[in-house]
């Protein structure tokens, strides 16, 4: 009875998938256009993997005798995956051979497609930048693309849109090591202990607030031209940005970094300069109101000259009075 119900549900489910509208607008500019039918097929294929590799799979294992303890560490979140850059790929595009059946083939892991297999062009650029980076110099054998990029989760900044989400995603990567002794030790050269992230940046006021509203890579990577992807060259302490006004001034560098994909929408809402930044962060020196500032400067000027005129009047009156008294 139960299994019949499940089958019915599966059929209804696949119709529902077929009936899905075309791709959401944010994913439209794909390299290859995928029809809804193809997409449904991909999802159905992925559902096979997710039947085990999910919370539900661990709670109600479709197969007896599996290593559930291990499976618990291999859960993939379907919702997160379908919101990621790779949302339209089959699991098996990357997890090539040996995963279709269970138990999986012993050497299945060796066949995982690498990033550069599919992204040869950007990988070549990234590789060169990464080679100059602090991580490549000392840790190159352990440090690969997947050390930072979780291909099941990450989303391009421009597609995420909301700066808060971008900061959370990208800083989770860096803080995952630099704010965790356990993770740091896995990669650090022997005997190197982790310097506390807030101590290193003690010259920056309210560091935790900055980590929530601005990315590490804002200060730790070189500037790039408008259309180019962010650089993968991570700067060490000599080259990292320490000058506050790079961000904290009317012409903030954040306009070409964290907010680059939004600057076109800048509307000077309610007359504020950089109102696009103001939507998520009030930044001293950046999110000013030019008209209000001008009025205030005028008020100061008027007061100053008003008082000056009053003072001059007193001096003149004083001399006139003196002359009168003497004359």
């Amino acid at each position: 009875m139960r299994s019949l119900f499940n089958k019915l549900l599966a059929i209804v489910g696949s119709f529902a998938l077929l009936a899905l509208p075309p791709m959401p607008a944010q994913a439209q500019n794909a390299t290859a256009v995928i029809s809804p039918e193809q997409l449904a097929k991909i999802h159905a294929g992925n559902d096979k993997c997710l039947a085990c590799h999910s919370q539900a799979g661990v709670e109600h294992p479709p197969l007896a005798g599996m290593d559930l303890k291990k499976l618990r560490t291999l859960i993939r979140d379907a919702d997160a995956f379908y919101a990621s850059d790779h949302q339209r790929l089959s699991c098996t595009k990357c997890h090539n051979e040996g995963y279709d059946d269970f138990p999986h083939a012993a050497d299945a892991k060796d066949n995982t497609t690498t990033c550069s297999d599919c992204h040869s062009k950007s990988a070549a650029i990234v590789d060169k930048q990464f080679a100059n980076s602090v991580h490549a110099k000392n840790l190159s054998d352990k440090f690969t693309c997947t050390t930072c990029h979780n291909p099941h989760l990450m989303r391009l900044a421009a597609k995420l849109g909301d700066p808060q989400k971008i900061v959370a995603q990208d800083n989770r990567v860096c803080l995952g090591c630099h704010d965790s002794d356990e993770q740091f030790a896995k990669f650090a050269p022997e005997k190197k202990s982790r310097p506390l992230i807030d101590d290193i940046h003690s010259w920056l006021p309210n560091t935790r607030l900055h980590w929530k509203h601005v990315r590490c890579v804002e200060c730790h990577t070189p500037a790039v031209a408008a259309g180019e992807p962010i650089s993968h060259e991570i700067f060490n302490k000599e080259k990292a940005e320490k000058n506050c006004v790079t961000c904290h001034s009317a012409n903030s560098a954040l306009k070409t970094r964290l907010y680059r994909h939004l600057v076109k929408e800048e509307e000077h809402r309610l007359g504020f300069a950089n109102s696009i930044i103001l939507a998520s962060s009030y930044m001293p020196g950046v999110t000013r109101h030019p008209l209000l500032d001008a009025l205030i400067l005028i008020a100061f000027g008027a007061t100053f000259f008003g008082l000056l005129a009053h003072g001059l009047g007193r001096i003149i009156a004083h001399y006139i009075r003196r002359r009168k008294n003497h004359g």
Partner: protein, 204 residues
């Protein structure tokens, strides 16, 4: 006795000059932060922030001292304009600033132990000290600990109203400061009132 009267106890004078130095410091560093510009820094940004934060906390301490001192010594009574004829004296005082002093009329008000301030001073000082100061202190404190500000407000960061309140009250206080310093020169001589604020003695 007739030509000299001791009006201001040491605690008031110490508080007054501490307050003055702190507010000028806060004004200069606050403006450096607000008008931050790589090409014309008044005070370099990170230095300005550090000084501003320290001076801000000091101002809170100084203000608490002022409030407590006023309660303990009963000096708060000075800030209350006393009837009758408040309106009348206010007009008189204004008229003197605008006209009387030019033609050599005598001061309409002479500072005394019972009534140190003229009405206009009492009203202005009361507003500045008990309305504006709390606003700038509290908004500064929230600015220092932004986790206490609302997250968002009308599609903007929730710190916006706090920062605006801080900026506008700073403007009002600095405008007051300008006038305050200038009016300090309107004693019998240019320096009379400044001298009184240093020595405590009013020379009649």
């Amino acid at each position: 006795m007739a030509d000299r009267e001791y009006l201001l106890s040491p605690w008031i004078r110490i508080w007054h000059w501490t307050n003055a130095v702190l507010i000028i410091t806060l004004g200069v560093t606050g403006m450096s932060v607000h008008f931050a510009d790589p090409n014309l820094p008044l005070v370099e940004f990170s230095l300005a922030v550090r000084i501003h934060n320290i001076a801000g906390v000091c101002l809170i301490v100084a203000y608490s001292f002022f409030v407590i001192g006023n309660i303990v010594t009963g000096n708060w009574w000075q800030f209350v304009p006393k009837p009758p004829g408040i309106m009348q004296r206010m007009i008189e005082q204004t008229r003197w600033y605008a006209y009387g002093m030019f033609v050599g009329e005598p001061h309409p008000h002479t500072p005394s132990k019972e009534q140190n301030f003229n009405v206009l001073q009492a009203v202005t000082y009361w507003n500045i000290m008990y309305l504006l100061m709390p606003v700038i202190l509290v908004s500064g404190l929230v600015y220092l600990y932004p986790e206490f500000a609302p997250d968002t407000l009308f599609g903007f960061d929730g710190l916006l109203p706090v920062a605006m309140l801080h900026y506008l009250s700073a403007t009002a206080i600095l405008l007051f400061l300008l006038s305050h310093i200038y009016l300090g020169t309107t004693g019998k001589t240019i320096g009379q009132l400044f001298k009184m604020m240093i020595t405590g003695w009013h020379e009649h």
